[in-house]
């Protein structure tokens, strides 16, 4: 597919280090959009970003320690005090609220964006060291990502026009 795709000769790499429901968005949004604009994109998944390659995603978001997370509720923006965020079920509740907003506002799901990234030939590299460290197995991951390490990213980054760390 990529061979017949118009490319503008530009390339971009993104280091993906975060795997919460909110932070999963920026790398996938930028990767899919850049790919749609003819940019060759490489995503390097490391540390908490690595689980974004698991076949079954179970992403959550917590308001704990994040006073900037104010969700719209009945016309106002509400933050959850840390003390409440610590209670059992608070993370699940915040995740449900976020997912409802995502659906209501016509925002793509992470699964949808990840599939769009795969469909548009975004290259994905799974950090081998993180696989070892957190004991992830390749068979639990989606098909497509290759294994690599820091040198693999550096080689790509040196040839790229844009390099992001998210």
């Amino acid at each position: 597919m990529s061979s017949v795709e118009p490319s503008n000769g530009k390339s971009m790499t993104i280091i993906v280090t975060k795997g919460t429901l909110d932070w999963a968005y920026p790398p996938f949004i930028l990767a899919t959009t850049a790919a749609a604009m003819g940019v060759d994109v490489t995503m390097f998944f490391t540390f908490y970003g690595l689980p974004l390659l698991l076949k079954r995603l179970d992403l959550e978001v917590t308001p704990l320690g994040n006073p900037a997370m104010k969700l719209p509720m009945m016309g106002v923006h509400m933050a959850m005090p840390n003390l409440v965020g610590m209670l059992p079920g608070a993370t699940a509740g915040a995740t449900t609220m976020m997912k409802n907003l995502i659906k209501k506002k016509g925002v793509a799901s992470i699964e949808e964006l990840r599939q769009a990234a795969i469909d548009s030939d975004v290259k994905m590299i799974a950090c081998q060291m993180t696989m070892d460290l957190f004991e992830y197995k390749l068979e639990d991951m989606i098909e497509g990502p290759t294994l690599g390490g820091a040198a693999t990213w550096v080689e790509n980054a040196l040839k790229s026009d844009v390099n992001l760390y998210i």
Binding site: P6, A36, G106
Partner: protein, 75 residues
């Protein structure tokens, strides 16, 4: 000249761009793709998309809450 239409109303960034790109692949060079969207960010985004991909943004207009973009496939 035939016109292809993509209804991206109700979709948020980056879905209108991604779906437009997907559809543009099947539009023969020289023909038009009409995109309808409700995302106000798509006004700047479709202009940037067309500049970067070498396609022509023939028309960008607003009708109420709906934005309409006419893209001529050149690349």
């Amino acid at each position: 000249m035939s016109e292809h239409v993509l209804d991206a109303k109700g979709l948020n960034c980056p879905l209108p761009i991604i779906k437009a790109k997907k559809m543009l692949k099947d539009v023969p060079t020289g023909e038009m793709l009409r995109v309808l969207a409700t995302d106000p960010g798509s006004v700047a985004d479709f202009a940037a998309f067309c500049r970067t991909t070498g396609n022509e943004l023939v028309e960008s207009k607003q009708d109420g809450t709906t934005y309409s973009f006419l893209i001529k496939r050149l690349s």
